[in-house]
Subunit: 355 residues, 2 copies
C-alpha cells in the first residue's frame, strides 16, 4: 500500500504509517486481552502522536501511559482523560504541571522516593485535586524504582498518609526482553514474581493494591498469562520494530521512512535519510522491499550496496528503521497511508516534549 | 557560568550553550585563517540554529554550508545570503526549491551525476537564476562523490555546457579523522592530494577551479596548512565535541544539557534526560563537573553511579552529550548563557528540516 502512495510525491525523508497494519495490530492486542480482566494502557512514547494514541483507545484500553509531563499535556489537549506517568519527577514546575493536569484528567503517577510523595501531595492540595499513585518497583532494570521491603512499605505508608494522594498500586518495568535472550521466559517470570511478592507485602501490611502495572510489547504474551499484572504498558505493539520479531507476536511492522536515491556509484546507492530521520539504536535501517541492510549511515545519508545495478537516481526506497520511538521523535509529522491509498498527515505533537 | 544560571529554573532537560566559549571558538577559527587566502564556510548542520549561524559570520567567513534544502531555506529566511548545499539532490521539488532560493541568495550546489546537472540546469532556467556548482569528489568516505577521471571530466563538461550553471570548483569530504586514528595525518594528506589531482585534471582540460571546498573540524589544522583547499566546511568547531579532544584544536566544548536527578538508590542517580534529548553516537554522556560517564541510557533516563552518596533528588546535573549535531536536532530551542549570567532562548529552527 505504501509503495503505491509514493506517487503522491511527498518530500523525502517522509515518515509513513501503514494504516491497515496499524489497525490490525490494535485489534490483535484487544483480542489477546479479551476474556481476561486485564487492561492495556498503551505507552505513547512510541509515537508521541495524539492522532495515533486516540485510535489505540480500543477494547480493553482504559487510557495511555506517558514518559514525560510534556507527553501528558499533549495527550490531555487531544482529549485523552486517563493518563499514567510511568516515571518519576522531582522538579517543582513538573509537579505543579501534573497537579494542573489532574483538573482535566484522571492522573496516576509513579513514585520511588518520599520527597516526590511530599511534593506531589503539596501540589495536589494546592490545586484542589487528587492524584493516584503507583509505587515504582525496581524489577531488575536498575533504573528507577524501589527494592527493599522497608522502603516499599515506607513509600506506601507515606502515600496513604497524604489526603490528596491515593495509593492505587504498584508498577515495575523490566526493559526489553529480546527473543535472543536465552532465559527470557525465566526473566519475565522473575519480574512478575517480584511484583507478586510486593503485592503480598503491601496486602499483609493492610494496603490495597488495585493496579499492578507493567510489561512492554516484548513481555506482552507473558503478562497476559500472568495472574498478578492487571495493566499492561506496552506501546510498540501498534507499530512494531524488527527487533521484536522472533517473539511470535501477532503484530507486524507498520512504519516506513521513504527516502530518495540521491547518488550512485558502482553497486552503491546513497539515499537522503540518515541519523537525523532514522532511529538506529537497534541497528542500521533496512530496505523493506528487498530486506537489504544498510552498510553505513551518517546524519543525512544511508548507504546501501546493491548487487547488480542500484536503482536510478530519484528512486524512492522504503526504509524500515530499527527503532520506532526515536524515529518518531525526529519527525514533526507522519503520513498515515490508508487501505484506499489515501494519505493523511498527523502531527507528532509530543515530539521534543521531554520536559 | 552555566552552573550559576541554573537557578533560573529552566525546565529540564534543557540544551545550553556557553556564550563565552562559543565566541572564543569563533574568534579562534578566525585567528587560524588570518593571513591565509582561505575562507571558512561553517556547516550549520552542527546546530541548525540561525541565531548561532549568524554569529559565525565573522572574519574570513563568507557564508554557510548546509546539508539539506530545508536548512538552506531556514538560513535564507534568517538573512544569510551565501549558501552551499554540500550534498546531492535528485527530486524535482528539491531542485526547484534550490532554484527558488537562488532568487534571494548566492547558491552553490554539489553534484556527482549528470542527471542532477540536467535537473538543476532546467530549474535554474525556469526560475531565471544561475547556480554555482561544485563537482563532488569521493575522497575516500565512500558515500557521495565521483572518482574516475572520465566521470569527473564529464561532470565538469556537463556543468559548463549549461548556461544557467557555473562550474565554481570541486568539493570533497573525508568524514571525521579522530585523534585515535593512527594514520590520520597521512589520511588527511591523501585527501588533499586527491583534491589537488582533480584540480590539475580539470585545469589541464581547460576548466577553472576557483573553489576547493572541504575539511571538517577534525582536519581543520591540516586544511589551513594545505595549499589546495580554498574553503573549509567545518562546523563543529564553534560548539565542539569531546570526541575531538586530543587533536590540539584551539576550541572548547560549549554545549551542556541540564538534567534533574529524579531517582536515586544506593550509589545510583537517575536523571531526566536520555536518548530523546542527548545524541549518543560517539558514546554515552558524561557529567561536566565531575567527568563521570553514564552507565546506561534509555529514552528519557540516564543512569550514573556516584561513588559515596549521589546528589539529592531535584539536583541539576550538567551533562555533556557526545554528539552535538544530533543533540541539537532533538531540541526545539537552546538557551544561550551569557558572561553576565543572562540567558537567551534561540530557536533550533532547522531542526527536523531534513526534507
Amino acid at each position: 500500500m505504501i509503495r503505491r502512495v509514493m506517487a503522491a510525491d511527498l518530500p523525502t525523508p517522509a515518515l509513513l504509517v501503514d494504516e491497515e497494519i496499524f489497525e490490525a495490530n490494535i485489534a490483535a492486542a484487544s483480542a489477546l486481552l479479551r476474556g481476561t480482566a486485564k487492561t492495556l494502557r498503551p505507552h505513547v512514547k512510541t509515537h508521541r502522536t495524539p492522532a495515533l494514541a486516540r485510535r489505540q483507545l480500543a477494547e480493553a484500553v482504559i487510557g495511555v501511559t506517558c514518559a514525560t509531563v510534556g507527553e501528558m499535556e499533549v495527550m490531555a489537549d487531544a482529549g485523552i482523560t486517563d493518563l499514567l506517568l510511568a516515571n518519576e519527577v522531582a522538579s517543582t514546575d513538573k509537579v505543579q504541571r501534573i497537579a494542573a493536569l489532574a483538573r482535566r484528567a484522571r492522573v496516576t503517577v509513579a513514585v520511588d522516593d518520599l520527597a516526590q510523595i511530599d511534593a506531589l501531595s503539596a501540589a495536589a492540595q494546592a490545586f484542589s485535586v487528587h492524584l493516584d499513585v503507583l509505587v515504582d518497583v525496581d524489577v531488575g532494570l536498575r533504573r528507577c524504582g524501589l527494592t527493599g521491603e522497608r522502603q516499599l512499605l515506607e513509600a506506601a505508608a507515606a502515600v496513604e498518609r497524604m489526603p490528596a494522594l491515593r495509593l492505587a498500586g504498584i508498577m515495575g518495568y523490566e526493559g526489553r526482553l529480546r527473543a535472543s535472550l536465552p532465559d527470557r521466559h525465566e526473566k519475565a517470570k522473575s519480574v512478575f514474581r517480584t511484583l507478586a511478592e510486593v503485592c503480598r507485602l503491601l496486602a499483609v501490611a493492610g494496603y490495597g493494591v488495585d493496579v499492578v502495572s507493567g510489561a512492554g510489547t516484548s513481555t506482552l504474551l507473558e503478562a497476559v498469562a500472568d495472574p498478578t499484572i492487571t495493566e499492561i504498558q506496552a506501546g510498540t505493539y501498534a507499530l512494531m520494530e524488527p527487533d521484536l520479531e522472533g517473539l511470535h507476536l501477532p503484530f507486524r511492522c507498520a512504519v516506513a521512512v521513504a527516502a530518495t536515491v540521491i547518488s550512485r556509484s558502482g553497486c552503491r546507492a546513497v539515499v537522503d535519510a540518515g541519523r537525523k530521520t532514522l532511529g538506529c539504536e537497534y541497528g542500521l535501517p533496512l530496505t523493506i522491499e528487498e530486506g537489504r541492510v544498510a552498510v553505513s549511515i551518517s546524519e543525512e545519508h544511508t548507504v546501501f550496496e546493491w548487487p547488480g545495478t542500484p536503482p536510478p537516481l530519484g528512486t524512492i526506497v522504503l526504509l524500515r528503521p530499527s527503532q520506532v520511538r526515536t524515529t518518531f521523535n525526529l519527525h514533526d509529522r507522519a503520513w498515515v497511508v490508508g487501505r484506499d491509498a489515501s494519505i493523511r498527515e498527523v502531527a507528532v505533537e509530543a515530539r521534543g516534549r521531554s520536559q
